[in-house]
Amino acid sequence: MKKFFLIILSLSIAHIAYSQPVPNKEENIPHLMTFGNLAETSWGDDDFSQAFFFQIPKDFKQQVFIRVFDPDTGGEIDEIAGQWNSQCKFEVYGGDRCHSEVDARETSPIGDYKSGTLMAMKVFGENPRYDKQWYTFGPFNPAEGEYLDIFDSYIFKVICEGISGDDGNMYNYYMSTSGTENIPIEGANAFAYEYSFRMHNDNSEVSHIYPYIDENTITVKISNFDWDGDGDIIVVSRERQGQRVPVSHEDDWENDEIKVIEEEKKTSYDFQFAKKKGNPTPIRNNNVVVNVRNQFNETMPFYTSPIGGVPKYKYSVIAEPID
């Protein structure tokens, strides 16, 4: 645990973010994804649960709101399985152990993953009132989150669980200073230890997620679920031009381990998800789950606003005269 806190400390100091849409613009991910707990895992969700953490700088004193876009399971965005019969529960947690509890940082909803103080909760079924609309939790006093020195911030946790049915709920978050519109908070960020999301149907789109590589990371184990072999997953960093990792297929996990280059430490990786080009029958509504662990099997955070910015490979060009 101590090691983990040290890891987080190093990134909290370095990072200044401004936007808290989840997914973020740089990620180019349409929506987060959670299926009802009666769905087949082959449809893309391995555990019907997703936890996201919101980080608010301790000096920020205004009230905050956590907003959910299209929280219901029905309508155009969500994925129907037969008929709409699913419910999703959104819960907001703050207070002690909200993040510091080990189970809260795990990838599966087991143990005390709902640690902390439940501050708000709402269950959504099929409801046109919330279709393509924002639902707002809050206001919350930032101090109601779990304060952690290592972040120098307050942390809130939002868990979305599919509690019934087999439909897929596609949604987005935004942490705002307003309950009626999305206004970003300077210095805030959002992160998750497992990312469950919906891919674009347009195969020209490339989605990104950005795990942070702290200074103690030696190897990174990348796990992806149900990618359906629909293209490539490429790891890019300042020192890595583009490395393909094995991709999962229908209803399975695929794992790969890559060795961290010294210069990659304290920077972010860019996991690029490129759908297969030229496919006459492109896969639609492809959902994927991704997590990464270090050499200690500890989960590593994906930040929606990448620490250190979006990593770009550092090319070096020269022009040398020849005879």
């Binding site: 020209s204 490339v206 583009g242 770009k312 090319y315 070096s316 020269i318 022009a319 005269p321």
Partner: protein, 457 residues
């Protein structure tokens, strides 16, 4: 005062001017000068009228060693006896001195010693300069009263002695010999061979730093009684003696000494009397010549960070001045002309079908180098004509007064083109100097190139 400008074959010129030294010694004989301090040491012959009883066998007066200080460009102070300790009533000199001016070698008549009062032969002696005086006068260990040894020349370090002697081993009259100082003694003199020594008298050796041996000879087809000749040395062997045309006259010409850079020196001419001549050159001074730099128009444009180039996932492209697109991770490009070029490097990811533009960029000012430039063969044989051409010189905003050539063998020429024949093999440094056409403190640009001169077939 005499000014002469002589030319050699093929238009190559020496650019030397020479003039008699204006020493206040009218009526005296002056000969065998060597540079010393701020002037020269030379041999001064007293007028016959001053010492009628003491003359050489040929009736010439006896001599002493004098020093004259140079006072101005063409004026000289009154000569003074170099040292009383070196003076005798008979013939003293010629002489030679080491580079550090601590050791002198000079010739003297045997008859200066009472035991040899009837011997008019010359011998060599050494003296050391200590406490402002020439002391420790001692004889050259190979002196022989039966023979004359004279006109010495010491190498700058004082370890090698060249001289003329009429030994039995001579090829005729006086020959030039060499002796080396080893283990605290001088080696047995060695005749320098028939490339240097003729069947007549050969005197006044002077070994230039270039390796050329200059000397005076009645042989080798001299047109006067004595002419000045030189021999090149190639890999230890002396080559045929060649006359130093520009200094030879119908009179006798002797005792040439020359600065390391060939720009000035002295010699002696005997017309009615013996006179010292100073020669110099108005050739532009060569300062810091540089090798000719190659204009670089062709470049390798290269991305340098990748150990492995992945063409399966990526395509690469160079863009020059935002107009010319050249595919490739590493490309060769020849820039058409001088100018400022902006290079950018784009990478296309075939998997994501995305292109990162300008991931690397360079500003490359391509300039033609401002410098004198000449072309010539790299290698030539002795006596072959070598042509030089400075047409590729690029010196904008530099008004050119003239093109001057130094062929590295003491010969020079002027003109945008030049030709030259080398008379000896070896590595020669050819220098092209371009003189600026302005009145005050003109600037000179100089470049050099080494060429190889091979022996003739």
């Amino acid at each position: 005062m005499i000014f002469l400008l002589l030319t050699l074959n093929l238009g190559a010129q020496d650019f030397y001017r020479y003039e008699t030294l204006r020493l206040p010694t009218k009526g005296f004989d002056e000969l065998a000068p060597i540079p010393y301090k701020d002037g020269i040491i030379f041999v001064l012959g007293r007028p016959a009228s001053a010492s009628r009883k003491l003359t050489t066998e040929s009736g010439k007066p006896m001599t002493d060693i004098y020093y004259a200080e140079k006072k101005g460009e063409r004026s000289w102070g009154t000569p003074e006896l170099l040292s009383n300790s070196l003076k005798t009533p008979f013939m003293d000199g010629p002489l030679t001195i080491t580079a550090d001016e601590s050791l002198i070698c000079f010739s003297r008549m045997y008859r200066a010693e009472s035991r040899d009062k009837n011997n008019t032969n010359l011998k060599l002696l050494f003296a050391d300069f200590e406490n402002d005086e020439w002391v420790n006068i001692r004889e050259f260990e190979h002196n022989d009263p039966e023979y004359t040894i004279t006109t010495p020349f010491l190498s700058p370090d004082g370890k090698t002695l060249y001289f003329a002697a009429d030994f039995e081993s001579s090829l005729g009259g006086f020959d030039i010999y060499v002796s080396r100082f080893k283990n605290n003694s001088w080696s047995t003199p060695v005749n320098m061979g028939d490339k240097i020594n003729s069947s007549s008298n050969d005197l006044f050796p002077f070994l230039h730093v270039s390796g050329k041996l200059y000397f005076s000879s009645q042989g080798h087809g001299s047109r006067g009684d004595y002419d000045i000749f030189y021999c090149d040395n190639f890999m230890g062997d002396w080559l045929d003696a060649r006359p130093l045309e520009r200094f030879n006259s119908r009179a006798d010409d002797y005792s040439l000494v020359m600065s390391e850079d060939y720009t000035e020196g002295y010699f002696t001419r005997r017309g009615g009397s013996w006179d010292i001549y100073r020669f110099f050159t108005d050739y532009p001074k060569i300062e810091n010549p540089r090798p000719i730099q190659r204009n670089r128009w062709k470049y390798r444009l290269k991305e340098n960070s990748l150990d492995t180039i992945d063409y399966s996932m990526f395509e690469y492209e160079w863009v020059i001045n935002d107009t010319l697109h050249i595919p490739g991770h590493e490309v060769i490009f020849q820039f058409p002309k001088q100018g400022d070029y902006y290079l950018s490097f784009n990478v296309h990811n075939k998997v994501t079908d995305t292109t990162e533009y300008d991931v690397g960029n360079l500003f490359l000012p391509i300039r033609r180098i401002e410098q004198p430039v000449f072309v010539c063969q790299d290698t030539v044989k002795v006596n072959e004509v070598m042509n030089f051409n400075a047409r590729d010189t690029y010196l904008p905003n530099f008004p050119i007064e003239g093109y001057y050539w130094d062929f590295g063998d003491g010969m020079k020429d002027k003109g945008k083109t030049a030709s030259h024949q080398y008379t000896s093999p070896g590595i020669k440094e050819v220098v092209l100097i371009i003189k600026e056409d302005v009145r005050k403190e003109p600037d000179n640009k100089a470049v050099f190139k080494e060429i190889t001169v091979l022996p003739a077939d």
